[in-house]
Amino acid sequence: MNAQLTARAVAAAVAALLLAAAPLAQAKGTLVYCSEGSPEGFQPQFFSTGTTFDAVSVPMFNRLVEFEIGTTNIVPALAESWTVSPDGKVVTFKLRKGVKFHSNANFTPSRDFNADDVVFSWDRMANDSNPFHKGTGGQTYAYFDDMGMKNIVDKVEKLDDYTVRYTLKRPEAPFLADMAMDFASILSKEYFETMAKKGTPNAADIFPIGTGAFEFVSYQKDATIRYKAFDKHFRGKPKVDNLVYAITRDATARYAKLKTGECHVMAFPKPADLDEMKKDPALAVQQKEGLNIGYIAFNVEKKPFDNKLVRQALNMATNKDAILKAVYQGQGQVAKNPIPPILWSYNNAVQDYPYDPAKAKQLLAQAGYPNGFEVDLWYLPVTRPYNPDGKRMAELIQADWEKIGVKAKLVTYEWAEYRKRSKTGEQAAMMFGWSGDNGDPDNFFVPLLGCEAVKGGGNVARWCNKSFEDLVIKAAQTPKQADRAKLYEQAQVIFKEEAPWITLAHSVRFDPVRKEVLGYKMDATAHHYFNNTDLKPAP
């Protein structure tokens, strides 16, 4: 009898232990995202990588205006509405009322979001004498500086608690899109002041307080970031209770985790895995046209590329369809314009150069190079979102050009070195690309093809064309989108005729998600938003 009792007690104890040990059901509730790396920090103003934005500004902060998820349309966020003065130089935002900030162990907000927060967030970046300007550990304001915002915005003023006025130094139509970018996230002024009073001003940059859909819970370096749903979020509480980023640098491991259900959504799959993923009944592979362009730029300051006919000839000598098949494995589309088709103002009427080696040879002869010439072709040393394999692409192009007598020598450098050298104009023909970060066509035309960008180095073709430049500048100063679109459409015609680039391809992005994930929508600017994502309850 005693023995039986003991046995029962042991069994009960073991059962209790096992129950305790059973993983808590990944209940309704916890959405796990396998991200590709660790954030550099938790402050949206300091950094410039997508990985950091995905972990910081996307879940935890809001901007005055934001991009509608899945498109580049600008929608109200912390600002309910805005007006632009007729001269395009004054933008007045009406702020949303009743927006709450998060709280944490050291801070509970005493008031709602208001104009003070907007002015503070801007002033901190723009004004050297702002007491909070000098960031934690000597951080700098990456995007603010690199986009030259100081030359765009003159001043930011609070008109009343819920009205803020931005006065620009020049009319700048893309300004609204700029304000939807991560660096323009709104911080809590009260939080910074409270932390300063407590003698720990840096804490405000380390433990983020925003208005976003998710609140910060904890970060284990290089392992996990935890968030919980913010139930007072102005757009309503997100559907899942908890959000966890499982930092998994290796793409193969991310895929394995997605397969086993250790995560629900994964970042950046390897192109080679996509076919298998699509066949997996537990997974759904979402795809979206990338907001990007991959191209070959001809340095028009150098012979023979100063001659338009040569540039056109090489355009005709390049077999883009073959490249798309071999390099992008069909996961992309041939590019004919410098902007992708998902961007407004894309000119679909532009005719691309046909693949026509015979005509190309003829053009070369006309340009005075009947026997072709030798040229260095720089190719990308790394995989980029707009180009999965620079070397393979270069080899294909080399073979294509060979057919019309142009002998390309393939050259490359380490990635940072590659970018550095490209700014000096040392290149003759080089492979490059761009991923748009604010969904405004200006974000492609000006940094990549504008005359200023020749000096800045972003215009690697070093092509400065007056008619094109006039159109693009005018478009930036025109308030109405429809009017701007017309100007950009004309600019694309000039661009094609002048052929400073061979526009190669717009790549397609993929986000594999598990089937139990509901309502996940891919974003146009390559961020990962989980505000409206839910999980199917376990059967």
Partner: protein, 335 residues
């Protein structure tokens, strides 16, 4: 013994200098630019670039940078990471327990399997058992870690579903890091589920990381054992009527262990370098994962500081190994 230790300690100073110089030079020899790495295609505002170069001290001549670096080290400062702006030492200390935990279990795995395997191979020399142990250990030794790790994941995690793919603990457990050792922290929190989860996350990375040391230990134990088994005193022990088991375990093993302990000590360096690959594949938040990211982003202070700290550990462990010879075999005297 004391004189021996002092001599060894004196040797540490030039070793350290060498390590700092190599770490300093190597990371600068790789093409790339830490400041350029902080920006993408957009490129960096030239003014900000100059400001950052100045702030990081990278606008100064290399000898001056090196002198400044040595000066910092002497003052106990390893600098701050260029990407996160956190002190290098703090980042290292946050992540190091994870690496120790992994290395410890890899070593336990290697010793627990490697020693008996080596002994069996020696005793059963030229039998199937011997060939099997030697064959398997040679395979283990030759296998690239990253490939082996992926095979383990695919088979045990994806195919069989027995072990988690990667990470240190299942995401539903949010265990506060008190010691940084996940097993200890979960026990302190009294959370057995978390403890079990942490343990299950250790299995595959420990096997992946422990395989090469396992092979080395097995082979070393075998050859050392074979040598000892041929000694006269072993034959004498057997002739006196001691059982084979007793002869091997009591008389032979102790002497055979000396070179094995040396090898185990040397494996510590190997474990730390192996951790770089293992941690990357298993998303193990340790110093290996951190260092590889530091190299990729050309984070000079992280790479320099990380290498210096890891080298320090390897040096200290080797020193301890030398000191333990006397314990394993009192006949060895350091004079």
């Amino acid at each position: 013994m004391l004189a021996f230790l002092l001599r060894r300690v004196a040797l540490i100073v030039p070793t350290f200098l060498g390590v700092t110089l190599i770490a300093f030079a190597l990371i600068r020899l790789i093409p790339g630019d830490p400041v350029e790495n902080l920006s993408g295609e957009r490129g960096m505002d030239p003014e900000r670039r100059l400001r950052l170069l100045h702030e990081f001290g990278l606008d100064r001549p290399l000898p001056a940078q090196y002198a400044e670096y040595l000066n910092q080290i002497v003052h106990g400062d390893l600098g701050t990471s260029l990407t996160t702006h956190e002190p290098v030492l703090r980042e290292f200390l946050t992540l190091f327990p994870a690496t120790v935990e992994l290395a410890f279990f890899a070593m336990v795995f290697a010793i627990v399997l490697g020693l008996p395997a080596g002994i069996i191979a020696a005793i059963k020399r030229n039998t199937v058992a011997d060939y099997a142990v030697m064959g398997v250990s040679l395979t283990g030794y030759s296998m690239p870690i990253f490939w082996w790790a992926l095979l383990l994941i695919l088979f045990f995690s994806v195919h069989l579903g027995w072990t988690p793919v990667s990470g240190r603990i299942a995401v539903q457990y949010d265990v506060q890091a008190a010691t940084g050792f996940m097993l200890i922290d979960t026990l302190r929190a009294g959370d057995f589920g978390a403890f079990r989860s942490a343990l299950s996350h250790l299995i595959l990375p420990s096997i992946a990381l422990g395989t090469i040391p396992l092979a080395v230990i097995a082979r070393m134990t075998r050859s050392s054992m074979l040598e000892v088994l041929r000694e006269d005193y072993v034959r004498t022990a057997r002739a006196k009527g001691l059982s084979r088991w007793r002869t091997v375990v009591v008389h032979a093993l102790r002497n055979a262990l000396i070179p094995v302990v040396t090898v185990i000590g040397l494996q510590v360096g190997l474990l730390l370098s192996g951790a770089i690959l293992t941690e990357t594949i298993f998303s193990w938040p340790g110093v290996g994962n951190w260092l590889i990211h530091g190299v990729q982003s050309r984070d000079y202070p992280v790479v320099q500081g990380g290498i210096l700290l890891v080298a320090t550990i390897v040096i200290v462990v080797n020193l301890l190994v030398d000191a333990t010879y006397g314990v394993v075999n009192p006949r060895i005297r350091h004079g």
